[in-house]
């Protein structure tokens, strides 16, 4: 191994519920609420806040199945 390879540092950055966390940066009103982020086109859950996880929402669930449980936010 080269001297350079021995000293190489690799950073791994993991963020809790990444997409949800991103949305919350620009909309603080989403904090403390159950939030899910959906995929393009299919509209399946790709990120869940802790509150959403506690509600039993599973990764990959399509939105049409969750919609009846969602109160109006916007």
């Amino acid at each position: 191994m080269t001297a350079e390879a021995k000293h190489r540092l690799i950073a791994l950055i993991d963020v809790n519920s990444f997409f949800v966390s991103c949305e919350r940066v620009f909309d603080p009103g989403l904090r403390d609420n159950p939030v899910v982020v959906l995929s393009n086109n299919d509209g399946c859950v790709v990120a869940r806040s802790n509150e959403a996880k506690a509600m039993g929402i599973e990764m990959g669930q399509p939105w049409f199945k969750l919609a009846p449980r969602a109160p109006s936010y916007w």
Binding site: F26, P28, G29, R31
Partner: protein
């Protein structure tokens, strides 16, 4: 009146710095064109002038009138820099009640206060800066005059 809010935060454009103005070493006079016009050497980039850290800078729209005395009018676009340590006297964007609000920050001995310039809204008083969520520091207010 309610707190002035910071709406629709968006990042600044990632485009290359645009050269918009020539800082001509002449003043606008009537009649005689200045021979110095051919010797303009300095151009001014608004991106360079206004933005210190592009990745950390966002534009928000001021909504409300409680910060008029600070030079921020309703509808003005504001440049807000995140990640900058707020200091006493800064106009900041703070998270209050789930909203991004615009306030003046006062840091004193033993107390930190968020104040709206007009004085019609109650002060937010905490013991330490770390108790507040400061979203960013307002660096520029862009007020349209025409």
């Amino acid at each position: 009146m309610g707190s002035m809010l910071a709406l629709h935060p968006r990042p600044v454009s990632p485009a290359e710095a645009t050269t918009l103005l020539s800082a001509a070493p002449v003043s606008v006079a009537c009649g005689f064109p200045s021979p110095a016009q051919d010797y303009v050497t300095e151009t001014l980039s608004l991106d360079e002038r206004l933005i210190r850290d592009k990745e950390a800078t966002f534009i928000v729209e001021a909504s409300g009138s409680s910060m008029v005395d600070a030079g921020i009018s309703d509808g003005d676009p504001l440049l807000v820099e995140k990640g900058r340590t707020p200091e006493h006297g800064d106009i900041v964007v703070a998270v209050l009640n789930g909203e991004l609000t615009i306030k003046r920050l006062h840091v004193g001995r033993g107390a930190v206060v968020l104040r709206s310039e007009s004085g019609t809204h109650p002060d937010i008083v905490v013991d330490e800066l770390s108790e507040l969520t400061i979203w960013g520091v307002v660096t520029w207010s862009l007020h349209r005059v025409r």
